[in-house]
Amino acid sequence: MTAVRIYFNNIWLALSSIAIGMRITMSHLFVKSVTTQYPDVKLKMPERARNRLYVNIDDCIGCDQCSMACPVDCITIETIKSTPDQDLGTTSTGQKKRLHVPVFDIDIAKCCYCGLCVPPCPTECIVMTDVYEFSEFDRKNLIYNFSVMMPQDIEQARAKLKKAEEEAAAKKAAAAAAAAAAKAAAPPAAPPADKPAGAPPSQQPSTPASDTPGQPGKS
């Protein structure tokens, strides 16, 4: 008896569930579809959507923080120090710019749109935009160069820095030579006297003129 009941119950269940299913699909035939006809109609991106990066290079101080934050290393930054006589201006947030930025490349093909580069920026100049249509036929075109420096400007800045460094080194060498001379002149007062030779702390241990014999301030 139960077997028979189960048999007919199965048939009834099958038929009734098919009817329910067909009713649902029929009702959906007349529901407005959810498709957006994409290239013709575009949805508005949410306010905080993360898409293509943009760098406002005028505000960039070349601090390299964004590049260090990037988990996939797709930001390449090179900087050139400015010399004291140059004024690179200030950023819109009022910070003084001290570095030229000859190279600021973002390989957007590698970028994973994590947005980790955005918050560290002290001047808020690297931002995510809502642009998402930037496919290219050549992969190389996906490396975005944000730097605006012309090759000759870069050259100039390099030369200037080099000159300034050389001058500083020469000055330092001269100071060292003077100190050595002073030391030679007054031997008893020697131990404390070699300190001022390395005085400018910002100076790297750049190679001084090696023809100064018995230079103590090295090492």
């Binding site: 048999y7 048939i11 098919i18 299913g21 067909m22 649902i24 699909t25 029929m26 959906h28 035939l29 007349f30 529901v31 407005k32 579809s33 959810v34 498709t35 006809q37």
Partner: protein, 348 residues
């Protein structure tokens, strides 16, 4: 067809060729329309929109697809059995198209007005199984052979309920000729076999539940015959890639595809001719005549085709054992009961 009797040999040949090509033209046009319909229904059931970019709401898409298919490279895998591989789609299409010969499109148009029409259709459409097995075997691919074997098992099992359902119609009308069966149901919607046919009132009332069930079973079984969802195990995409035509591409693939759609209309046409009054107008003599007959036949067929599409996008696929269960333990016994009951009622 009697009008063309004294045309001589060449005249007869020409007329024969033209007449036998007519359903082909119909099948191709119908396939284009149905492919479009199927995609649109599929999309709208899922709240999508389907083709939109080729012409108005994408109406030209099937044509674009067709052009793409003829341009495609014809690939035959190295391990395939070439002869069988090439032959298989033609056999499948032949089996389907051959059956169109006995479909009464209109009171004046039927390919071959043979007395064994229904029997012929059941017989020749079994050729499809051979073609499918051939395709699966010749592809030399495990998905294909699984698909083919499933298909054979399924089609052979469902041949029985189909044949029994046809038999019931034949019992009531007393003829295997589909043209005769159609004429039997003349006189409006209440005389269709699904509502018991033009029998005396008492018999009609008694017989109607059984004919309704028979029609339902015929429809379900014919779904399985043409490998449509929920019985599309032979080409179950999720398990078997494309089943027996995994290895096919280009025009050969298109041939399978057209055969599948042609098959859909074929089974719909048989069901219409047997149970829904064929080309007879649902309003008796109103709007009847050869041309209206064609119209009614195609409309009724398309309604059933739409039903098949609707079901496809509603139901999930059955398991193999459920498939067999449905055929042998549900449809067949129910039909036996119907046959006995209808037989008894008819001798009343």
């Amino acid at each position: 067809m009697e009008a063309f009797q004294n045309l001589g040999f060449w005249g007869t040949l020409l007329v024969t060729i033209v007449l036998s090509a007519l359903p082909l033209v119909f099948v191709l046009l119908y396939a284009l329309v149905t492919i479009y319909l199927e995609m649109k229904v599929a999309a709208h059931v899922q709240d999508r929109v389907a083709y939109m970019r080729t012409g108005w709401h994408g109406v030209l898409q099937p044509i674009a697809d067709f052009i793409k298919l003829i341009q495609k490279e014809d690939i035959i895998s190295v391990a395939a059995n070439k002869k069988l591989f090439i032959l298989a789609p033609y056999i499948v299409f032949m089996g389907t198209y051959g059956a169109y010969a006995a479909i009464p499109f209109s009171s004046i148009f039927i390919g071959a007005n043979i007395d064994l029409g229904a029997f012929f259709i059941i017989g020749i459409s079994s050729l499809v199984v051979v073609g499918i097995l051939m395709a699966g075997w010749a592809s030399n691919n495990k998905w294909s052979i699984f698909g083919a074997v499933r298909s054979a098992a399924q089609m052979i099992s469902y041949e029985i309920p189909t044949a029994l359902a046809v038999l019931i119609a034949v019992m009531i009308t007393g003829s295997l000729n589909l043209q005769e069966v159609t004429k039997f149901q003349a006189g409006g919607i209440q005389n269709w076999l699904i509502f018991g046919g033009p029998l005396p009132l008492l018999q009609k009332i008694l017989i109607t539940p059984f004919t309704l069930i028979t029609f339902l079973i015929l429809f379900v079984a014919s779904l399985a015959e043409v490998n449509r969802t929920p019985f599309d195990l032979p080409e179950a995409e999720s398990e078997l890639v494309q089943g027996f035509f995994t290895e096919y591409s280009g025009m050969r693939w298109a041939l399978f595809y057209v055969a599948e759609y042609a098959n859909m209309f074929l089974v719909a046409g048989v069901a219409v001719a047997l149970f829904l009054g064929g080309w007879e107008s649902p309003f008796g003599s109103f709007l009847s005549g050869p041309i209206w007959g064609l119209f009614w036949f195609i409309i009724k067929g398309m309604v059933l085709v739409f039903l098949q599409i609707w079901l496809r996008w509603t139901l999930p696929r059955l398991r193999v054992d459920q498939l067999m269960y449905t055929s042998w333990k549900v449809l067949t016994p129910f039909l036996f009961v119907c046959i006995i009951a209808i037989g008894l009622i008819l001798v009343l």
